[in-house]
Amino acid sequence: MFTSTTFASILPEILILVLGMLVLIVEPFWKEEKRRNVGWLTAGGLLAIMVISFLFGQPGAPTSTLGGMIRFDWLGFFFKMLFMFAAAATALLLMDNEKVGHRGEAYLLLLASLLGMNLMAVSADLVMLYLAIETTSIPLYILSGFMLADDKSTEAGFKYLLFGALTSTIMLYGFSLVFGFTGTTNLYQLTDMFKAGSLPLVTTLGTMALILVGLGFKVSIVPFHFWAPDVYEGAPTPVAGFLSTASKAAGFAVLVRLFFVTFSGFAVSWTIALAVLAAVTMTVGNLLAIQQTNIKRLLAFSSIAHAGYAMIGVVAFSQLGAASVIFYLAAYIATNLLAFGIVMAFSRVTGLEDVKDYSGLSRRSPLLGLMMLAAFLSLTGMPPFGGFVAKVFVFAAGVQAGYVWLVIVGILNSIIGVYYYLNVLKSVYLYRMPNQDEENHPIPLTRPYAIALVVLAVGVILIGTVFAPWFSWSNAAALNLF
């Protein structure tokens, strides 16, 4: 049965596949020095796909399509839009990275991984889910280790692969246990079986824990976070940005669907477990971030901490909780991509990646300095940037659910965050360059950077001021979970 609903439910994925093919076909026809233009094609294509999906691919009432493999609802749709936006921005940021962006394969891998993420967001079946997760991960392993001549990049790719393979095997084991106990792999059928209470509690909790290992790796919550700093440091910067935003959000999409729907019958047990994990994640991420001198490692630990904040919304286990997680991820994706984009633009020209190298940036390039200000204040959680509203929403959801202690932990952590984020801004605004004449040389922004960074910066401010539309979309998505 291939109806129009079925078609609409996988419309973006079909188009992404077409775009990927197009990238493959077109690339050899361009001369080598022009191959970066594949980035324009990718970003433009993704933008077109977003528009087409928005016009023709909007979901109605939640339905299952393709034999129960796909769940066609607003939750998946909103996440898909976020992923495609992130991928388009990443494609632009890749373009002027000589070692990566001048080869067409990079864009193909990006699209392949995007395809997997989109499917992660809509999977309604454990088999589909596992395939989607692997489709996401494998291209990202390659992209992380893309710079063959660079030891750190190779190390990043290898480390990511090993950790990823290990955790996904454990998760697969959990999936197979679920199938063994229940005889079904469909998430929505599982919900009813779990609710009926036909399974012993210990087995369910055990399988839940196994699955959590795989997802915990994806969203990088403690104690599955060890890979993140090394991989972010070694991987090409735009890829690291993509890993820390879209890939993490994809993990959350699965996490929310699994725990809010499939395991909803056991909410009493898992909310407490996740609350503890969230508290530990925030604290470890922030405390380790304080000592970092490399900006990419700093952002890596900060992204671990942010997974913890977002987790507060999951722990709340309410409609507002789900909506606040989704809103948080939207704000976080724009913010962190902006931060990584600036790091990329800066290190491309200077080749430097330490926090202290950013001294004098606001004198050198006032615009870049201001964007850095927007990104880092948004990460801190200051208005009028997206991070503030997002944090207030997850905290509100936490207080509503009665997790006041977790919110207090979150707040203490935000205070630690203020300290190290402001330390970066101190370099940007306060310190001078060792050689003050160099301050007269601004950092040139090529066109793809300028477009991507300005769009992201405007997005960060829009999410933080005109938050009503974003929130109502997040809310519509959250509604599908209950």
């Binding site: 006032p366 201001l370 402001l422 306060l430 938050f467």
Partner: protein, 505 residues
């Protein structure tokens, strides 16, 4: 009244900040010109709000309400009452004079670099973002928006102090200030969220609207738990003892205009929010804990004055005197009676104008003499007579002399405190003596003492713009002192509302 005057006041500085940022970096005077124009416009509007506020009808006026996020009951809800209208005017005045004295003058041959000469474009942009946040807090009737603007008012302080501050302590002071204020505000935030959800549970209304929340009927036990975190969280910004430590450090490190904003307006923000959210929304909790607030405030009044007395650095002296005077504001609030709260309202305005003036003049002296150590200064009355008169007027206000605004403010506070606990009033009044001592000592040494040889010949008079700023600030202090009816009846209308919420008195 169709003209949305309050949102125009709030967003004027923010729009001006954007315009200033778009100017080329070299066009320093254009940036200053735009800043001055925007500040003047905001000042005129705030005058208009102040004078067209109808005292007969009282209550919240100039109401504007735009639904912002209906799903969670967040709206852009603006309005002023008798307490916030003077504070809006105060912000307008401090913003206007702050821009004037930041204009400064620059003469390389004389080693003279007054005002802000390094990157004035960014300076005014951040300063105006802060000003917009301050206006927003004073006019917001929606708790979410109040927080939104509150945080906007806090974070530019970090940059303003860290970039343009006094090189020796600016990094330390800026970070300390930001952390203190951030901790305070998020602690209050948890309390506010708890209030929000309890209101939802009690009434089924999902709303951050403060007027609605006044009727939420929170239980005694709930108010007892949450009053302290909410009140003290905000009061940190009001410089309440024992959380006042960030404040003098911040004053000293900040550039002149930022010190003026900080002491003149930002500390009022804390006191105002503590009143609005703490006392007005959790009145039963206020009754339970008022003794503790009174204790803290009483200590701040005397201790602040004493520490100010032993300072050698002029800015530290004024910084601690601010702690002492803001302690009087909190002391007035803690009485929970008519006299005390009214005095607190007037003191907020009076102290704002007075400290802004003190910091402005200290900045003028420092820019020309490059020292703030009181023993190293002297004879300023000869070179800058205008500033001398200004400082003396400020000093008289500070000491609470009749015919000046300080008297109009402090007298009701002490009356109110006496009604509650006469002993506190007696002890707190010691501060008046100490204040007189350090102000007199400072005037004698800095303005009339012999001029040190080092400074001889290097010192010039203040600029015309500086004089305009001094005159503006002095006018307010004298007008309120001579004609209390300029402000007292207005604040009284606001106080009536607070008393109604506190259950009569």
């Amino acid at each position: 009244m169709n003209f949305p005057v309050l949102s125009v006041i709030t967003f004027t500085p923010m729009v001006a900040a954007l315009i200033i940022l778009m100017l080329p970096a070299q066009r320093k005077n254009e940036a200053r010109g735009v800043a001055l124009a925007a500040a003047t416009f905001a000042l005129l509007l705030s005058f208009w709000v102040y004078f067209s506020y109808d005292q007969a009808t009282a209550g919240y006026q100039f109401i504007e309400k735009y639904s912002w996020l209906p799903a969670l009951g967040i709206s852009l809800h603006f309005g002023v009452d008798g307490i916030s209208a003077p504070l809006v005017l105060l912000t307008g005045v401090v913003m206007f004079t702050g821009v004037l004295i930041s204009w400064g003058e620059f003469d390389e041959s004389k080693h003279l670099s007054a005002g802000i000469q390094d990157r004035p474009r960014e300076f005014f942009a951040f300063l105006f973002l802060l000003a917009g946040g301050v206006f927003g807090v004073f006019v917001s009737l929606d708790l979410f928006m109040l927080f939104f603007f509150y945080e906007i008012a806090v974070f530019p302080m970090y940059l303003l102090i860290a970039i343009w501050g006094w090189i020796q302590t600016r990094e330390y002071a800026a970070m300390k200030l930001t952390l203190y204020l951030f901790i305070g505000s998020v602690v209050s935030l948890v309390g506010v969220l708890a209030m929000y959800w309890l209101q939802y549970k009690n009434t089924g209304i999902l709303s951050f609207d403060m007027i609605g929340m006044e009727k939420a009927g929170f239980s005694q036990a709930f108010q007892n738990i949450w009053f302290l975190p909410v009140f003290l969280g905000f009061a940190v910004l009001g410089g309440i003892w024992p959380f006042h430590n960030w404040s003098p450090d911040g004053h000293v490190a900040a550039p002149t205009a930022v010190s003026m904003f900080h002491a003149g307006v930002l500390m009022k923000l804390g006191a105002f929010a503590a009143l609005r959210v703490g006392i007005m929304l959790l009145p039963q909790g206020a009754h339970t804990w008022s003794w503790l607030i009174m204790l803290f405030a009483g200590v701040a009044v005397v201790y602040g004055a004493y520490i100010a007395f032993v300072q050698e650095d002029m800015k530290y002296m004024i910084g601690f005197s601010s702690v002492s005077h803001m302690g009087l504001v909190m002391l007035g609030m803690s009485t929970l009676n008519r006299n005390g709260i009214m005095g607190a309202g007037i003191q907020m305005f009076s102290h704002g104008v007075m400290t802004a003036l003190f910091f402005a003049i200290t900045g003028m002296i420092y820019d020309r003499s490059h020292t703030r150590q009181i023993p190293e200064l002297g004879g300023m009355s000869k070179v800058m007579p205008f500033a001398t008169i200004g400082f003396i007027i400020g000093g008289l206000v500070s000491m609470g002399m009749p015919l000046f605004s300080g008297f109009v403010a402090e007298f009701p506070i002490f009356m109110g405190v006496w009604q509650v606990q006469w002993l506190v009033a007696v002890i707190a009044s010691i501060s008046i003596v100490i204040t007189a001592a350090y102000i007199m000592r400072n005037i004698r040494q800095v303005f009339f003492g012999p001029m040190p040889e080092k400074l001889e010949g290097h010192m010039g008079d203040v600029t015309v713009l500086d004089k305009v700023a001094i005159t503006t600030l002095c006018l307010f202090m004298i007008v309120i002192g001579m004609f209390p009816s300029f402000m007292v009846p207005m604040i009284q209308t606001g106080v009536e509302n607070v008393l109604r919420l506190l259950g009569g008195s």
